[in-house]
């Protein structure tokens, strides 16, 4: 059954909402992944400098998830950048975005 009530087993064949259904199908099947890029000591603790993970939805949710998954990060200072922009407050993250995890360096 289509949203509009048209009796069909294949939603895309609904004469009324066929196009919308194709769009909906594509949308819901699109994988909700983000790309993490870790720098410096964070890459060592995570074990990779680049990682694809499921999108937790926001920067704070991502931070919580990372600290849980990689307890070694709990004692480290780091900032996040969403699509190469350093963020200053909780920020929504959408599918396909690149999140950089940035620790301070002091060497010279």
């Amino acid at each position: 059954m289509c949203l509009c009530g048209f009796p069909t087993n294949n939603l895309t064949t609904c004469p009324l909402l066929g196009n919308f259904n194709i769009f909906k199908k594509v949308l819901f099947q699109m994988p909700n992944y983000i790309r993490l890029k870790a720098f410096g000591m964070l890459a060592e603790k995570i074990g990779a400098d680049s990682l694809e993970i499921e999108n937790p939805g926001s920067s704070e949710a991502l931070r919580r998830q990372l600290l849980q998954q990689f307890p070694a990060l709990q004692s480290l200072t780091f900032r996040m950048a969403v699509d190469r922009k350093l963020i200053q407050a909780e920020t929504d993250i959408s599918a396909g975005q690149e999140i950089a995890l940035l620790p301070p360096f002091s060497g010279g």
Partner: protein
Amino acid sequence: MNRFERQVILPGFGSEGQAKLKQASVLVIGAGGLGCPVLLYLAAAGVGRIAVVDGDVISQSNLNRQVLYGEKDLGKNKAETAIRYFQEKYSDIQWTAIAEFITVDNAQAHIFHYDLVIDGSDNFPTRYLVNDACVLLKKPLVYGSIYQHEGQVSVFNVGTHPCNYRDVFPNPPAPQEIPNCAETGVLGVLPGIIGNLMALEAIKVLSGLGKPLSNKLLLFNSLDTQFQELEIHPNPASQSAIPASWNEFHQRDYAFACEGVQQLSWNEAMKLMGQEVAFVDVREPGEEPPLECTGLVKVPFSTLSKELDRFEEAEEILFFCQSGARSQKAAQLLQQTYPDKKIFSIRGGINALRS
């Protein structure tokens, strides 16, 4: 024809750019892995007045990256050695060596006299101190730092919405987070690359050429030769972390403070000497200057955890290292093992003794 001919004929730079460099003055903080390449290229480009601040001395392990120095320079002050080298090379530049570490007491006086500051230091306390002093003086600051195979570069206090280091990292990390200076290695070419980028940014700011890296943080990874640029913005939250006045700046203790570790100045420490106190140097062999005196115990930090039983007899233990960071970690480690002993770390380490 003069030694700047090849840059004067450059479109966009010209004799005007050269004149601006000639009139400019730069203060380079730290003549180490970053400071050496910065100095080489600022001098070659013809910056008119250059000063170097560094209280450290040259040790053998510096030579893989601190390319101004050689075997004959071991034990000599870095600022003075660098300046001697350059005075012979370029007589048209006004050179000043400041053979001391930058502190809350001397920062304002030193930085005030220069148009631009280069942060080539190697520790967080100095980086935050230099940042805050440059914010208070509104001085352009070229920042660069490295960790293993990566580097960061930016230009602070330049432009209409200027950023500073605290907009990126509002507060220094806890001492426990930071690996010991002797623990992380580096290939000399990395500070060479980052230092050259810093010299480039300084030349751009001073001459007006191109677009400096203001409001941007450049990241470099030498293993895959990748550059990445992050956009940064003034962060209202970090504003409160900067001292509001010089008075507040002078009162600020930028040195690391590990939780629960009692710190002593050298004067306070000297009063304890001669009593039943173990006086322990936790620096690695070869760190300069070596210290020899009766009753001094040498236990390098790297082997400390295996030699904890050496301290069983001592009632009071006094640790020191080069900068006061490792000795605090040593004190923490010992206190966990011997909760009843009196354990101290000497604030600022050997560096504090020298300045």
